[in-house]
Point group: C2
Chain length 193, copies 2
């Protein structure tokens, strides 16, 4: 039988760190508290699979990628047919949108959350309208005691910035968003290449 | 604005540790590899919210409690009306059943997993048949890089042991279980009180 890892050596893996501070690949162009308190202002952001070396003046948000929670097979096939990956050379703009939902949301049953998320708020369908221009990845934080339930990371080329604003505007007008009790928005840029 | 925690001081919270070793509240009466490799044999098991002091000869499994993933409002109401809590004085028997599901399971969409889990395998309905005698809590491990996707913890009085065997037998005969690629079973007892 394989050796079993001791807890002392068991790192929590599969968790991505978003590190705000004086250094990092992404320049923070704009930070905004959309609902409730924002984050301390920082100049740069790094996205790394581990905490790593970290400047003292800053913050860290963490989340993990998980399986889809609401998407049906039909919806998933439509997404996969259109979505783009992260890291495209032309995608020099990014956004990080941390949100926390209310206890009322989390006390809903799966069918109730699905009905609000898609049948009434069309969350997936709205995102589909902006593919492949705006690439997206969702990270979960609630289950590991993070201050935000979700960190959504977006990447797009500069000519998609107006489309991205429209996407945010549509999502924030949905019934689903009435369950969002904290939201913050960071807009980022990096050097091309 | 509130001070922001530095990553150095950010423990991963909300994670329960199941520590197998020479010490712990629960005596291991029986351990069995149901599907694929089992766990190293240990005498005792402890269930703690933190890693804490830990004997070198043993193992640790970790998981977090999360929101319900498949349960509808109707099903959730039926569960809540019948379920019992953990820690009942008479519940001196316990079981820990770690399982890992296949990639094929995790590549299914939400509606496909729900159809297998409940409409065709009746996972929730089977569990309901054994309430309130057999209390249960589900811990998730897949998203934090654990070797098992789920750790299910059961507590019951000694006179429920046959019922518990019947519950396991019914679950293992379902279509859902064809997606289980590793399963191990630990049966435990503690002193009364």
């Amino acid at each position: 039988m394989a050796a079993w890892p001791m807890p002392e050596t068991q790192a929590v893996s599969d968790i991505t760190h978003f590190l705000g501070g004086p250094a990092g690949r992404w320049r923070v162009m704009h930070a905004r508290a959309v609902i409730e308190a924002g984050l301390p202002l920082v100049d740069r952001l790094d996205v790394t699979p581990a905490a790593g070396p970290f400047a003292p003046a800053g913050w860290a948000l963490r989340g993990f990628v998980s399986n889809q929670r609401y998407t049906t097979r039909t919806e998933d096939d439509a997404l996969k047919a259109r979505q783009a990956g992260l890291g495209r050379a032309e995608a020099t703009c990014a956004a990080l949108i941390p949100i926390r939902k209310s206890d009322a949301w989390w006390q809903l049953a799966q069918d109730e959350r699905r009905a609000i998320f898609e049948e009434r708020s069309h969350h997936g369908a709205i995102g589909l309208d902006y593919l492949p221009g705006i690439a997206r990845r969702l990270f979960h934080g609630r289950d590991i005691g993070e201050p935000f339930d979700f960190l959504t990371w977006f990447e797009f080329a500069p000519d998609q910035a107006a489309a991205f604003d429209a996407l945010l505007h549509r999502l924030r007008a949905t019934e689903e968003w009435s369950f969002v009790e904290r939201e913050t928005e960071l807009r980022l840029e990096r050097d091309p290449g």
